[in-house]
């Protein structure tokens, strides 16, 4: 069978895992029954546990699903400590269901797979040695990649049933009231972990900072928590995010950023009260700077900024150019600190942020979104998962979710080194072209032909050449040459879900 983006899906696997192929970006108005977690009743006086070993012995059994969050990013000390104990306890056949996997976790995950401790993985993404390991067939069962909004949906549906969630926090009290804002290793919003706290059957908090009861503000509440474990250190604050965000000086990125800004300011969405989401890459940060000036010049204020937040965005909040910041994750210390001090920066969970099966998610209200791409093809399909060698080295993140915004801009250089970004067919379809509106490269822009309205308003802007995306693809190929097609085996190593839980594409084992 095929998904609507013309990708062949393995019939046997689709049937075995009871999957439907991706059809449409429209979610419609289905009625959904959500699940609820088990509650182990307690007055709360007995939650403190001395060691990870003891809590693992009390909670984790063969065949369970365990989860973690990735808010500590590469400064995470929690994942490896817990997995070490679980592997050493000889526990087998676990499903690992973290919000995402960061580089510091790679070696431990590979060890756990080899030991038979982990036999299934669902994640937003993976990189480095783990991506390489999985792409070379290291894990028997295919990894299931889900966007942040889709993970929330899957948890609410019961597609992901978390037995035990291990959640590291920089501060908690003895009953489990916790936040990400106070302590040593602070990361700000606990957005992704809030799903686990709400839906896991057993919630274990790990912290290096047990504070007086009751701890406020309480992002995770005592009503959700079963155990609180004191550890030496939950994370390295220097590796959670870059301390101070530096603006790019790369002329190519600056040119792309200024063209992205031109697209935004000439679009019908650029008016008082508009909303936007930018990523954390160099060009995206630079867009924020250009956008700031355009907002001042035109006396336009934004109603909200959404998503993963950086300091340039919280600066706009402090200047009054953005009225609210809706914050599911903070990429740098400035943004994390700002959540603590600015009441207009609201912590939101992954469901509120982006879950499609909802009574309205924030992404549904989004006007302008700027996203990146490893590859984009002439159908505007975007790959953010596999690299030029076909190996897994990315994450869906909120890409599919935010792309439902009214004006979705992909900002990407035409070529990176010898690798074309604009290609005839992406290696892996993650975000369908139907939800992408404009591609901005340093040479010019391409508008999705379905957006006739945008073609009309964006086609005569000075200094903003408009091409057909096929022409941009040919320009790229002329520069770098025609690559030899990648070779894969028939074996499926990963499934890419669309945000509604259908399968849009697969990743095959690389041949080499």
């Amino acid at each position: 069978m095929k998904s609507k983006v013309n990708r062949e899906l393995p019939d046997d696997l689709m049937k075995e895992l009871d999957y439907k192929p991706f059809e449409t970006t429209e979610i419609g108005h289905p009625e959904i029954q959500r699940v609820a977690p088990k509650v182990h009743v307690s007055t709360g006086d007995d939650k403190i546990v001395d060691s990870i070993k003891q809590v693992v012995a009390d909670t984790v059994k063969d065949g369970m699903t365990i989860s973690f969050h990735h808010h500590f990013r590469n400064g995470d000390f929690v994942f490896n400590q817990v997995m070490r104990v679980i592997i050493d306890a000889g526990i087998k056949n676990l499903t690992l269901a973290p919000s995402s996997l960061t580089g510091v976790m790679n070696d431990m995950v590979i060890e756990a797979i080899k030991a038979g401790t982990i036999t299934n993985i669902t994640s937003s993404g993976m990189r480095g040695s783990l991506g390489d390991f999985v792409s070379h067939g290291g894990l028997k069962n295919p990894v299931i990649f889900r966007s942040h909004g889709n993970r929330a949906r899957a948890i609410e549906h019961g597609d992901i049933k978390i037995d035990v969630a291990f959640l590291g926090v920089p501060s908690a009290d003895r009953l489990g009231n916790a936040n990400g804002m106070e302590g040593n290793a602070v990361f700000g919003s606990l957005g992704y972990a809030l799903m686990d706290a709400q839906y896991a059957d057993q919630v274990v908090l790990l912290t290096d900072n047990i504070v007086d009861y009751p701890n406020t503000p309480a992002s995770i509440k005592q009503t959700q928590v079963d155990y609180v474990v004191k550890v030496d250190k939950v994370g390295d604050p220097d590796k959670i995010g870059s301390g101070a965000t530096r603006f790019t000086k790369d002329p190519k990125e600056l040119k792309i950023a200024s063209m992205v800004n031109d697209v935004i300011t000439h679009s019908p969405y650029f008016k008082d009260g508009f909303s936007f989401q930018t990523g954390s890459g160099g060009a995206a940060l630079a867009v924020t700077r250009y956008l700031r000036q355009s907002m001042i010049d035109n006396q336009i204020k934004a109603s909200f900024a959404l998503g993963g937040i950086t300091k340039p965005t919280t600066d706009l909040l402090n200047e009054g150019l953005v009225k609210k910041v809706m914050d599911v994750q903070d990429f740098d210390k400035g943004a994390a600190d700002s959540m603590h001090t600015n009441g207009n920066q609201q912590e939101i969970d992954a469901s509120w942020y982006a879950d499609p099966d909802n009574k309205g998610a924030m992404v549904d209200q989004l006007d302008v979104v700027i996203l990146s791409a490893l590859e984009i093809d002439t159908k505007f399909n975007v790959n953010v998962m596999t690299g030029s060698d076909g190996v897994i080295r990315g994450a869906i993140g909120g890409h599919q979710d935010a792309a439902t915004g009214k004006l979705t801009i992909i900002s990407a250089p035409l070529v990176r080194g010898r690798i074309a970004t604009v290609v005839p067919d992406v290696t892996t379809v993650v975000t369908p072209g139907d939800s992408v509106d404009v591609l901005v490269t340093e040479f010019g822009i391409a508008i999705n032909p379905k957006r006739i309205d945008l073609i009309a308003v964006l086609s005569s802007i000075p200094g903003l050449p408009v091409y057909k995306i096929e022409d941009l693809q040919k320009m790229a190929e002329k520069r770098v040459g025609t690559p030899k097609p990648l070779e894969f085996t028939d074996r499926t190593v990963a499934l890419i879900e669309y945000r509604d839980g259908t399968v849009i594409d697969t990743v095959k084992e690389v041949k080499d």
Binding site: S388, G417, R418, I419, P483, K484
Partner: protein
């Protein structure tokens, strides 16, 4: 053209290629390292071989560390490395440029 000594051209910067050419008894042997070897390895080796042939080099050992260089860069670095290895930098072979 005869390779007289080992010579190097190019850098390890992004979009460049570093070539080291040294003497060999016969034939051209290329040892290529590249992140894009899977998709452009054949093409990179073809550009180096063709450039060597055009310069009349029939025996050489080439070690190439590619950082995503385009064909024009590969050709330029190959010519520079050969001229250094053949000690002919004072008499550039303009006809192959």
């Amino acid at each position: 053209m005869e390779i007289k000594k080992t010579a190097i051209a190019g850098t390890l910067e992004s979009s460049d290629i570093q070539l080291m050419i040294s003497q060999a008894d016969s034939g051209i042997a290329i040892d290529l390292q590249s992140d894009v070897k899977k998709v452009f390895g054949d093409q990179i080796e073809a550009v180096i071989t063709t450039t060597l042939n055009d310069m009349g080099v029939t025996a050489a050992k080439v070690k190439a560390v590619d950082k995503g260089a385009l064909d024009c860069v590969i050709k330029a670095r190959t010519i520079a490395a050969v001229q250094r290895a053949a000690e002919t930098t004072d008499k550039p072979a303009w006809e192959v440029l």
